[in-house]
Subunit: 385 residues, 2 copies
């Protein structure tokens, strides 16, 4: 067997043991071995690794029935903490989460759009220090940092390849933030970690195929398959914003015409709206629609139709059991969700698949990216070191 495959198997075994303890605690070593088919030696080695890191509690307990004493294992939830960061154009959220994804503390901070990567990363470091001091958190229990942001991220290398919203290109974020803070750092696309958080702790717990669709400054999707983020070859899976929905459509900043995002994202909608009258926020556009201005009705209804088309196209491709809609562009107009669901089910979703999935709204709301980033940095521990 190749070295790579052996490492992969070790990693799989470690994850399996971890998950079994998490969901069946308290549990004995013998019971883990029996359930997994692993040898007692392998189980003991993995349990030893986990215990050494302080994730496990051992206790002597009397098993029911036989009356024999055996050592049972339990997770120590609060012993492991990590930092989650959501980085966006105009603000960032920094928080500390435990092993179950509970938020221990968090803060929201403004950020200037032109801020350099180094300035932003220093700010993150400062905010982490402030939070740990203020909430008297033992820094040794923090095992790493996860950062979620809009854009194309090379998650293996920890590099922000390209982010239109941040204006960053080829930023070695993980490396730099580790230099500043001393912690291990993982970086990922914001929708991927948000979907992970909703799957582990939010709207779609227990689902094995969740697609999350995000509509805001960009348009994108993320897919969680059997508990893991589906990444694709270059961590770009789900970039639905650049699927072509009309070859004769409007120009997209990517150089193609008729990309889906040209009909939906906030900047496109504002640019179209400004052909009629000047406005600076998407709320003004929604207000114009409420006031019954026909052009605003047209523009928003076209966007909602394309959102329903997006649901259809994603459902046809991934055939998920759950779809989470995260419609940032209609944050203040929750009734829009109902309009979208109605469009999906009455017209735009292919009939054979209409019953195959449920539509959810984000449960973790604006904390989703931060929580998902924090949890991702914990999961990374169980991958190759």
């Amino acid at each position: 067997m190749k070295k790579h495959d052996q490492d992969f198997m070790k990693q799989q075994n470690r994850l399996t043991v971890f998950e079994i303890i998490k969901h069946n605690q308290p549990i004995s070593r013998a019971s883990i071995a029996k359930q997994t088919g692993m040898s007692p030696t392998t189980v003991s080695r993995i349990v030893g690794e986990l215990a050494e890191r302080g994730y496990l509690l051992e206790s002597e307990q009397v098993s029911v029935g036989l009356g024999r004493r055996s050592t049972l294992l339990e997770m120590v939830d609060a012993s492991v903490l990590s930092v989650g960061v959501e980085l966006d154009r105009h603000q960032m959220i920094v928080g500390i989460v435990d092993i179950q994804g509970n938020v221990v503390c968090s803060g929201k901070y403004p950020r200037s759009a032109e801020e350099s990567p180094d300035a932003t990363l220093k700010l993150i470091g400062e905010k982490i220090n402030q939070l740990t001091l203020l909430h008297e958190i033992d820094g040794n229990r923090v095992i790493g940092i996860g950062v979620g942001l809009p854009g194309i991220v090379d998650n293996d290398a920890g590099v922000v390849v390209f982010s239109v919203q941040l204006g960053w290109k080829n930023v070695r974020l993980a490396e730099r933030l580790k230099e500043i803070t001393g912690y291990e750092v993982v970086v990922d696309n914001e929708l991927k970690v948000k979907a992970l958080a909703e799957h582990l702790k939010g709207a779609t717990k227990g689902s094995s195929r969740t697609a999350l669709l995000g509509f805001g400054n960009g348009v994108g999707s993320a897919f969680i398959f059997e508990g893991e983020i589906y990444r694709g070859k270059t961590n770009s899976a789900g970039e639905i914003g650049h699927t072509t929905v009309d070859p004769n459509g409007m120009m997209c900043d990517c150089g193609k015409a008729g990309c889906l995002q040209t009909y939906i994202n906030i900047s496109s909608l504002l640019s179209e709206a400004n052909k009629i009258r000047p406005m600076r926020t998407i709320e003004e556009l929604f207000e114009a629609r409420r006031a019954g201005e026909r052009w605003a009705c047209y523009l928003i209804e076209r966007a909602l139709m394309y959102i329903a088309i997006t649901v259809n196209n994603v459902v046809c491709m991934y055939n998920p059991d759950s779809v989470i809609l995260s419609v940032e562009l209609a944050d203040k107009y929750p009734e829009v969700y109902e309009e979208i669901e109605e469009l999906c089910m009455s017209r735009f979703v292919w009939e054979p698949l209409r019953e195959s999935f449920s539509i959810f709204r984000s449960e973790l709301q604006e904390q989703g990216v931060m929580i998902g980033s924090g949890l991702l940095s914990q999961i990374k521990l169980f991958e190759l070191e």
Copy 2:
């Protein structure tokens, strides 16, 4: 741990042992246990199961170095055979394949479009008997039948839910064919098994994310992720034919407007062509284009553009390392592949992903569905019984 999870783990362990022997033979039981971390008991149980079915050869060999005798295990390739069937509107292919997917023998037979399911299944039974007699194949070595066909298939239940091409609805194919032949039967969508075959034995061996796109009487895709068919919730993943590419487009037989397939599939193209002049085959349309008839050029070039758009949309969603084009509609005009690749790379594929994948043509050609169906029926053995 839940019963379901325990079964899943057993199945995973069995597959792991099988794969390790297949790729590292000859190999000892102790070595398998060491490499997987499984207990010797678990390994012996699984090896026993495989040996009982005649898949393994045991031989006494002297290990290099220690000079100790140990029993080494090897796969018996030719001992296991299965039947693969491709079922289409006007013809069917029946073949027998071994454990490596080599075709032992096969035949192609006409089928009338109006034939009832029962008549077709009886015919399949007869053809299998003919092939085994003619080629003197021991029926006991045949472990099952796999059938691939166009349409929506409930692969778990072995039911053809709906096939426009065959005109079938809710046909309990697996059950009926088992009654007729006595063999275990699996059924699947043709593109899914074709992609599996290309991955195991054809154009994309070694790839871990292959998308196969099929353009012919229908339009569809299939995705192989880490060696397995990605199915989605209801085995409908990849149904790209009903993604909307133009909400103002032509009506589709599904009741929506502007589905991708309305621009590409053979019946749509012929229906459009017949508005200009009567023709019955797609070849006539291609000949009209060769003769420089402008309307034919327009129609075909629009179709090719939409094929390139399909490549883009699939690549944005799945972010594969390999894309296999299976352009049945241009079977006799292989130069069309070059046109499509040129359109993809010069215009229609989103720039950040242009370098992320390679485009292949089908290697197994018209045998792909049959080989894939046969291999699928073997793989099923390692799933829950």
